[in-house]
């Protein structure tokens, strides 16, 4: 190879590399689409980005195996539902619901549903299988290192940050709120425009704790975060995914509560009006509007 070709190639690579920031708004848009399809919709996403998303998606799914003690679960098919197959409901005495609303069953079938005879019996002995009707979950904190790993591998994986924070809160220790906020703050540094992360930090403050010595509900701290999330969401309404839109709606509901608790009724009224305008006729916004109007009326009378 001629030296000038090599030199030209290296120079070209350096120039392209220094212009990498210009691609950032495409690869990492102001409002990210959350979930496993995060980068699938962007043709401009780099191969590395795709790989990282796959790794984080893989780890996210792995965390489900952790809470089920290695027992692989799958959603029940429509046909199975129709035939009245019993799903693996979680135990009634569990306070926190870790599985979704979808009915799930074990991947390895029970003896009753298996036509394979001895092969099925052997698989139930070698695979991590146990009957899961009314099953209990392992402590999700076991999966927490996975969330650290997946957010390290793909800092733009919003679900990793928010679910990881939920698991930290699940521990319900005195310092849980601070640890969760610190974890989410790292996520916010990587995704400053994420509605989900802002809402989740606000939720950490609003959730409070009944443990002695732990801070209660901190409306003052939650308020600026909720307002910032609302502003970002309203400025990007058309770009929001369904999940982000729902997150924004929840964010506005929490904002109403914050304004009410902090006696900011003008803002509460405006927020309720925004909510009704954007999210349609919603009972919570109607109630918030009525409460704010009534409170403002009382305040006006008191001033007079």
């Amino acid at each position: 190879m001629k030296p000038w070709i090599a030199a030209g190639s290296i120079a070209g690579a350096i120039i392209v590399g220094t212009q990498g920031q210009q691609v950032s708004p495409i690869v990492n848009p102001p409002v990210r689409i959350v979930g496993l399809e995060a980068q699938d919709t962007h043709a401009a996403a780099s191969l590395l980005g795709q790989f990282r998303t796959s790794i984080s998606g893989f780890l996210y799914l792995r965390s489900d195996l952790y809470v089920h003690g290695g027992v692989e679960m799958r959603p029940m098919t429509k046909d199975e539902e129709r035939r009245g197959k019993q799903d693996a409901k979680q135990a009634h005495d569990e306070e926190v619901k870790l599985d979704g609303d979808e009915p799930i069953v074990t991947v390895v079938p029970s003896e009753r549903e298996d036509f394979r005879g001895i092969f099925g019996d052997v698989e139930r002995e070698v695979a991590s299988y146990k009957p899961m009707e009314g099953h209990h979950h392992e402590s999700p904190t076991k999966a927490l290192p996975l969330f650290s790993l997946m957010t390290w591998a793909d800092p733009q994986f919003i679900d990793g940050w928010t679910s990881g924070a939920q698991i930290i809160l699940w521990e319900n220790k005195r310092e849980s709120t601070d640890v969760a906020v610190s974890f989410l703050q790292r996520g916010l540094d990587q995704n400053p425009e994420s509605i989900d992360i802002l809402s989740e930090i606000a939720y950490c403050y609003l959730r409070g704790s009944t443990l002695p010595g732990a801070p209660g509900r901190q409306y003052e701290k939650a308020l600026p975060l909720l307002e910032r999330a609302k502003k970002i969401g309203f400025n990007n309404l058309k770009a929001l995914s369904q999940k982000e839109f729902e997150s924004l709606e929840e964010n506005c509901r929490r904002l109403s509560i914050c304004y009410r608790e902090l006696h900011k009724f003008e803002e509460m009224k405006a927020n309720a009006e925004d909510g009704l305008r954007i999210f349609g006729d919603d009972a919570s916004f109607r109630t918030a509007l009525a409460d704010a109007t009534k409170a403002l009326g009382i305040q006006t009378k008191q001033k007079i």
Partner: protein, 258 residues
């Protein structure tokens, strides 16, 4: 059957593998495993023992199966292509003996590679302070039997198909069978007795490689060791299926014009 001829045949497969530097590939893969584990350890992720074990059994299962298929698929076609089959068959051995000897060689190469990877993975797991357990030993043993099935299947396919087609089919069967079986089980409840019989036949023909994977139990805590009758069944099934494959290969190979 001449048992004395199996040893030199198997030895020739091993020497050929060493000459082709296959074990170097294994060593490089093992080095990558340790490097990945070391990287995770370097970044200070605590509590990743389960994940490290999960990754280890996944990597071991994947690489050992690839090595088994690639080693077994080329044995007979290479002998024919390089014309080294003629001096072999000029000796007082039958074609069946040749197949058995070659299969034994492929199994030994695969086992050496697998055990080498296991040793390197064990080093990687010590970074995460993972202690060896009885289930892990059972995992290694069951996997070794499973690799015999994969080798026998791949070698038989290479007699019926071209080497590339045989390797492709072997990969599909080795990695796709668990998925196909899962599909059969899911749909079996909605078919009649005849359908179930057909499903049973299909299930019986497919190599049940997933039965030799105890990785799920070895990875997650609080699982009891696999009962001895299951290990016994795995040995019996592995041998039966491998012999059946060997016979199926011999049926074609004994009359094959070379």
């Amino acid at each position: 059957m001449k048992f004395t001829s199996y040893k030199p045949l198997a030895r020739s497969v091993l020497l050929e593998s060493l000459r082709r530097k296959d074990l170097w590939v294994v060593a490089i893969l093992g080095f990558l495993i340790i490097l990945c584990a070391g990287t995770l350890g370097f970044f200070g992720f605590d509590g990743l023992e389960i994940f490290a074990k999960d990754l280890a059994v996944t990597v071991l299962g994947l690489f050992s199966t690839i090595i088994a298929i690639l080693t077994s698929c080329r044995l007979i076609p290479d002998e024919i292509k390089n014309r080294t089959l003629y001096p072999l068959l000029a000796r007082p051995i039958t074609r069946f003996d040749l197949l058995v000897g070659k299969l034994m060689g492929a199994v030994i190469v695969t086992w050496i590679s697998f055990l080498l990877l296991c040793a390197l993975t064990t080093v990687a797991l010590t970074i995460f302070h993972v202690q060896p357990t009885l289930l892990m030993a059972q995992y290694v043993f069951a996997k070794m039997i499973g690799l015999v099935v994969v080798c026998a299947l791949s070698m038989t396919l290479s007699i019926y198909l071209t080497p590339n087609a045989a390797a492709t089919m072997a990969f599909i069967l080795a990695f796709g069978t668990p998925m196909i079986v899962r599909g059969l089980v899911m749909s079996a409840t909605s078919v009649g007795p005849v359908g179930k019989f057909i499903y049973s036949v299909v299930n019986g023909v497919l190599p049940q490689v997933q039965l030799f994977d105890i990785g799920g139990r070895a990875v997650y805590p609080n699982w009891a060791p696999v009962p001895l009758w299951v290990i016994g069944f795995l040995i019996a099934y592995g041998l039966t299926y491998s012999i059946a494959m060997l016979l199926a290969g011999w049926l074609k190979f004994r009359k094959q014009a070379i």
